[in-house]
């Protein structure tokens, strides 16, 4: 999609202004139903478009931005009432600077679960986002707005963030490509932090090639993020069409067990077989600590979140309660009024596991199990080039079906969260649609996981899977 548009831009067949106006028209026409966008500013995007350098790799291409990534002069709500009243970004995130340096135009802010906590976008305090394939269903989350915008053709491509599957799962549910890069591959500077040892920014796109193009633009060391890695960025496009012949692809038995929707299983297995038919060697492997991944994640992620979200104190930015009696009252009321229920739950959970008397039993234990999960993958990648699995056990569920039991959605993260704990890259590629749970033609994604910094081969395999 991007390369076609780029040809049309370079040949003069279209202009960045025309692309932006078409998108704005499509947003007006369709986004009232889908609800992918929280805001968009056509005028400022058109001003940028007037100076677009079409010789650059993403020259003149608008890209939608998840509303937890700072873009100078734009709102950045994180899907929260805490930041929706009067916050305007005073600076650009590094990924935005890099997209602009590659010629792209940030356009439109997409909805998300509040502070990226959730997997349905139902935790947004600001808006309901619907799945473009079935308006009764969730788009997935937390980057549900980004996935829905791409699927609804109201975005050429989008950025999301992934802490436990928040790019890959909505990509799977909406039938688009979603890439979570390796930890340290992309700078997190300017991303509103949720869990700093797990968060990564990545693309949601119409094609694997588009994901490669965007990763190429945003990857690399940033002195403002000490966890970004100072290692060279390879060319993600040259080997994209090299296929899977001779590659060893691992099938973890723990990822193909009970509890997977039969339609999802059939589509994923069919895609796996098709890769074998193209010459890949399938190898059964084991990731023995898989069953502990969700528990490990729901200690570490809330612990880091409770610490990160302490900055939302009502002093420097965001919501401040109306008439506090003293400074402590100001903190407590501002946070009570500004945060939604899922954010509060996770702050309390995180504070609890870090508190005196519980730290060793929960937090230290989880950090050690995280080592075991990381080693599972290191051992696996001694035998195979990449690992294949479903992205989610089921297609998109209905809006509101969760009721009062957040643990059910947490458990459905089982296939995606280990990649964040281990810091490895993983991608979701659409491999068909299924009828399930009363829904028709619901998209299913195949997940491909690779070794740390192995994005090039991951994209190469994803390209082969996409062509099926």
């Amino acid at each position: 999609m991007i390369s076609t548009l780029r040809h049309q831009l370079v040949s003069g067949e279209t202009t960045p202004e025309a692309i932006l106006k078409k998108l704005a028209g499509d947003i007006s026409a369709r986004d009232g139903q889908t609800g992918a966008y929280l805001s968009h500013d056509l005028e400022s995007a058109l001003n940028e478009a007037a100076n677009a350098d079409l010789s650059l790799p993403l020259g003149g291409i608008p890209i939608a931005i998840k509303d937890n990534i700072n873009v100078l002069g734009q709102p950045c709500t994180a899907g929260s009432k805490f930041l929706s009243e009067n916050y305007e970004s005073p600076y650009d995130a590094t990924v935005i600077q890099k997209l602009r340096a590659a010629g792209a135009i940030p356009f439109g802010r997409t909805n998300l679960d509040e502070f990226a906590m959730g997997s349905a976008t139902e935790n947004s305090a600001l808006k309901l986002t619907r799945n473009p394939h079935d308006p009764e269903r969730i788009p997935g989350g937390s980057s549900g707005g980004s996935a829905a915008a791409v699927a609804d053709l109201t975005a050429i491509a989008a950025l999301g963030s992934d802490t436990g599957g928040s790019i890959r799962q909505p990509a799977s549910h909406c039938g688009v490509v979603g890439l979570k890069p390796s930890y340290g591959r992309v700078s997190r500077f300017g991303l509103i932090a949720f869990a700093s040892s797990l968060d990564q920014i990545g693309p949601l796109t119409h094609s694997v090639e588009d994901a490669a193009l965007i990763l190429q633009a945003i990857a690399g060391y940033d002195e403002r993020d000490s966890t970004s890695l100072d290692v060279p960025v390879p060319d993600y496009l040259t080997g994209l069409n090299d296929g899977v012949k001779g590659l060893k692809l691992g099938l973890p038995k723990e990822y193909f067990g009970d509890g997977i929707d039969p339609g999802v299983r059939q589509k994923v297995e069919k895609a796996v077989q098709a890769l074998a038919d193209q010459g890949a060697e399938l190898v059964e492997i084991s990731l023995p600590h898989t069953q502990y991944a969700v528990a490990t994640y729901y200690v570490i992620a809330p612990a880091e979140a409770s610490s990160n979200l302490s900055r939302f104190d009502g002093i420097r930015y965001g919501h401040r309660t109306a008439s506090p009696t003293d400074i402590l009252d100001l903190y407590k009321k501002s946070r009570e009024e500004g945060f939604g229920p899922e954010v509060k739950r996770r702050i309390i959970l995180g504070t609890y596991v870090l508190s005196s008397g519980y730290y060793d039993a929960y937090y230290s234990q989880a950090q050690k199990v995280r080592t075991l999960i990381r080693r599972d993958f290191e051992n696996a990648f001694e035998k195979v080039d990449a690992i294949l699995s479903p992205v989610a056990p089921s297609p998109a569920r209905k809006i509101g079906a969760l009721g009062d039991d957040p643990l059910q959605d947490y458990l459905a993260d089982i296939f995606t969260i280990a990649a964040n704990l281990a810091g490895i890259p993983a991608i979701s590629v659409p491999v068909g649609t299924v009828d399930s749970d009363g829904g028709k033609n619901l998209p299913v994604g195949l997940q491909i996981l690779g070794p740390h910094l192995g994005e090039a081969k991951l994209l190469q395999i994803a390209k082969a899977a996409e062509a099926l």
Binding site: Y87, E88, P90, Y183, G184, S197, E223, S226, T227, L229, H289, Y292, V294, A295, Y298, S306, S310, D313, I315, R316, Y317, G318, R320, P324, D326, I327, D329, L330, K332, K333, R335, E336, P341, K344, R345, I347, I348, L349, T351, Y352, S355, A361, Y362, Q365, A366, Q367, K368, V369, R370, T371, R374, D404, D405, P406, L407, Y410, L411, L421, G423, I424
Partner: protein, 97 residues
């Protein structure tokens, strides 16, 4: 670890959250269910296993000690809910003498 016994009101205070009674009643069983699941971690023997804080090596990096541009004061203050005289205004934090 035995039956989880989280005191939600106490922990919320540590986290500087003023919860309503209704919220506490909602969160209590939800958090207990999550903690019960988390307790499966205690089945694993992790003696001798190093903890993982970051999945990739993280180094302390010193930047060059050279002046560089940073956010201007107006940009830093633009989002403050209450400000005066180029500063952020907050309720009094010291008691009357």
């Amino acid at each position: 670890m035995s039956q989880p016994a989280i005191d939600v009101r106490y922990v919320a205070n540590l986290a500087r959250l003023e919860l309503s009674d209704e919220e506490i009643n909602t969160f209590q069983p939800q958090l207990e269910a999550i903690l019960k699941h988390v307790e499966t971690l205690s089945q694993l023997d992790v003696s001798g296993i190093e903890p993982t804080s970051y999945p990739a090596p993280v180094f302390d990096r010193m930047r060059d000690d050279e002046p560089h541009e940073s956010l201007p004061p107006e940009a830093v203050l633009q989002n403050a809910p209450d400000r005066a005289q180029g500063q952020i205004r907050v309720p009094k934090v010291v008691a009357d003498a």
